[in-house]
């Protein structure tokens, strides 16, 4: 569904991504792990059109989209949940979801109802302002807003950032449900344990390179991953 081939991203003289290659198959959850500054966010910026690669290609469903602008992605079928959630703080929950359907023509009330079933808390808070929601509710709203565009591929940037462990669990359960309902998911995460538990496959980044990739279940038990990213967190499992 999505292939990234030898993509290089530069910020002026600094090279942030030194030719990365990976792919996402239809129906998968793929996660990209890495420490701070490894290039995860740059990868997602590139995948969502905010920063075009200098060389290399991004192919989505057979079309090269490496030079396509960010605002065209929703129409292509790729929705991006930006880092830090970035909901519209002064719009109500309902208005935020409606904005998600901005590129769509015709009625989308069925999808609104579907969002409210997936995220019952958003239905309760329908008339409240986005800015008044808690962090977890904002993350759900951001995901809901992205899904309102009916994407085939959902890109998530650090969905667990700044959230309480219980909320994180809920968010990841929902991500799993989203995949079950037919949307492919690519998620960039620091919380490796949570991400690998729901993912099919994972890639590990270091210093702007993908150092290895494997099935998520293998990565969970991989010595290198355990040592660097999981530390104590898997001990309880």
């Amino acid at each position: 569904m999505l292939q990234v081939n030898d993509a290089v991203v530069r910020y002026g003289a600094i090279t942030a991504l030194h030719g990365i290659t990976f792919e996402v198959q239809k129906g998968e959850i793929v996660t990209l792990l890495g420490a701070n500054g490894a290039g995860k966010s740059t990868t997602l910026r590139m995948l969502s059109g905010l920063h075009a690669p200098a060389t290399g290609s991004i192919v989505f469903e057979g079309h090269d989209i490496s030079q396509v602008k960010a605002h065209k992605f929703m129409e292509l079928g790729i929705a991006h949940v930006p880092e830090g959630r970035r909901i519209f703080p002064q719009m109500t929950v309902e208005e935020n979801l409606e904005m998600g359907a901005f590129t769509r023509k015709g009625s989308f009330s069925d999808d609104m109802e579907r969002m409210y079933t997936t995220f019952p808390i958003l239905k309760e808070r329908r008339k409240q302002l986005g800015g008044n929601l808690s962090g977890g509710e904002q993350q759900m709203l951001a995901i809901g807003r992205a899904l309102m565009g009916n994407p085939r591929l959902l890109l998530l940037d650090e969905p667990s950032m700044g959230l309480a462990p219980m909320i994180i669990e809920t968010i990841f359960r929902i991500i799993d449900e989203i995949r079950d309902s037919g949307t492919t998911v690519f998620v960039v995460e620091q919380n490796a344990a949570q991400a690998l538990r729901i993912a099919d496959r994972g890639y590990v980044m270091e210093n702007g390179r993908i150092v290895f990739g494997d099935k998520a279940s293998n990565l969970l038990h991989d010595e290198r991953v355990r040592a660097v990213y999981l530390g104590e967190t898997v001990e309880g499992d």
Partner: protein, 447 residues
């Protein structure tokens, strides 16, 4: 001494007296080259009357005013909330009613009726002229700038440029420039309306397309420069614009369709009605626009540009659109002014003009069409009143001092404007609670 200065009331008293000292100097006599300090010393030592009651020196009434200001200020701080709550209670019912659509329509119709009969109530020629040149035209400009600043959140400091373009286009089309007129014929100013709107819109797109990629402060600086460039062009391109001498005579509007013949002459009332028709048309169009898909895209961009992009909004496209719509409104206002005043001069198109329009928008309430109209009417009527019946010592150039002071007061007590838009009111409330970044809306900065 130190502890005394740390006392809040003492500091407030000092501030109040300092403000009044500034007012005393502002309204006091001017110095001269021989006596450079006379402006200061005279402001306090000159003979004056104590509000017409007895003779004294100037510092006495200002000291009194300072003490009054201090008392009112202290009272407001201690009892202000009660007053605010009381006012809110009184206005709760009318405000709720005003949210309902039939009531809104009723108010709109009522206001139009008032506007229609107004020239028959106010017959003073000064005010009749002011209603066209200084109020109706400024309302138009303010609602146009409101699309750019209020709806799309773009700070445009060169709005005067599009007004000038509209005015000079009228001069061109009617053959009042040294340049041969468009199509070689001297047309009626009515034909200038569509042409000026299109040219101003094109100017907006030409300026907007490359510069609207910039954010916040940078955009403000570029638009500032554009405003200056247009004024300097008008001044220096003698062979095209007539330079600082201004244009030749621009004809009045005239209508000549079959048996109907009408000439908008020197009397302002026909112009008033003509402008009123267009004001109502523009207001209706902008109200529709605000709640359309385009309006929602503007709101999204204003709130968070990255998020707007992520839901598929092309920020550049909608920003340029806002710019072009604002520009075309200013262009139309330029046509009315040019035809009504017969001559135009580069000296009318200054930075302070752009600032003046911006003040109307901020005062009225950014993003609130009704607020902006009301704000424009109040400020322009106020400044015309000062011009018509100036208080002792008032110079027309003092106006901006008072407008500045008014704006400072507004920012402290009513930051969302006189009649805030519903969304703006929320934005301010949220930003005071530390959420969102409405305080950065004017600079349009995104974190």
């Amino acid at each position: 001494m130190r502890t005394l200065f740390h006392n809040v009331s003492v500091r407030r008293l000092i501030s109040a007296l300092a403000v009044m000292a500034v007012v005393a100097v502002m309204t006091g006599p001017a110095g001269s080259t021989e006596t450079p300090t006379a402006g200061f010393t005279g402001s306090f030592a000159e003979k004056s009357s104590f509000f017409g009651m007895f003779e004294t020196v100037r510092w006495v009434p200002f000291l009194f005013l300072g003490l009054v200001f201090f008392s009112v200020w202290s009272l407001w701080l201690s009892r202000g909330q009660q007053v605010k709550d009381g006012v809110a209670k009184v206005f709760a019912a009318p405000r709720a009613a005003a949210e309902r659509r039939p009531v809104r329509w009723g108010i709109a119709v009522l206001l139009i009726v008032v506007a229609l009969i107004l020239p028959h109530i106010i017959t003073d020629p000064f005010w009749q002229a002011a209603m066209v040149e200084q109020i109706a035209v400024y309302v138009l400009l303010a609602v146009g700038l409101n699309v750019v600043v209020g709806f799309a959140g773009l700070l445009d400091l060169g709005f005067v440029a599009f007004y000038a373009i509209g005015a000079y286009t009228t001069a061109w089309v009617t053959g009042a420039l040294p340049l041969p007129p468009l199509f070689g014929i001297h047309m009626d100013p009515f034909f200038a309306i569509p042409i000026a709107i299109v040219i101003a819109m094109l100017a907006g797109i030409i300026l907007g397309a490359p510069t609207l990629r910039l954010r916040g402060d940078y955009l403000a600086i570029v638009t500032l420069g554009f405003g200056e460039i247009i004024t300097i062009f008008a001044n220096n391109l003698y062979g095209i614009t007539g330079g600082s001498q201004g244009t030749a005579l621009i004809p009045h509007f005239s209508l000549h369709v079959g048996p109907i013949k009408y000439l908008w002459g020197l009397t302002p009332v026909p112009y008033y009605y003509l402008t009123l028709v267009f004001v109502v048309l523009f207001l209706a169009a902008f109200s529709l626009l605000e709640h359309s898909r385009v309006g929602r895209a503007w709101t999204a961009i204003r709130e968070d540009e990255v998020a707007a992009e992520s839901v598929g909004i092309n920020p550049l496209k909608y920003k340029v659109m806002a710019f072009a719509i604002g520009a075309s409104t200013a262009g139309f206002a330029g046509v009315v002014t040019a035809s009504q005043s017969n001559n135009i001069f580069p000296s009318s198109f200054t930075l302070s003009f752009s600032i003046n329009i911006l003040v109307l928008v901020i005062f009225g309430g950014m993003g609130s069409i009704f607020g902006v109209v009301l704000g424009a009417i109040i400020i322009q009527t106020g400044s015309m009143y000062l011009l018509h019946t100036p208080p002792a010592g008032y110079q027309p150039s003092d106006l901006y001092v008072y407008l500045g002071a008014l704006l400072v007061m507004m920012m402290i007590f009513r930051p969302a404007g006189l009649v805030p838009s519903r969304r703006r009111r929320r934005e301010i409330r949220l930003s005071e609670a530390g959420e969102g970044h409405a305080d950065e809306v004017l600079t349009g900065d995104q974190p």
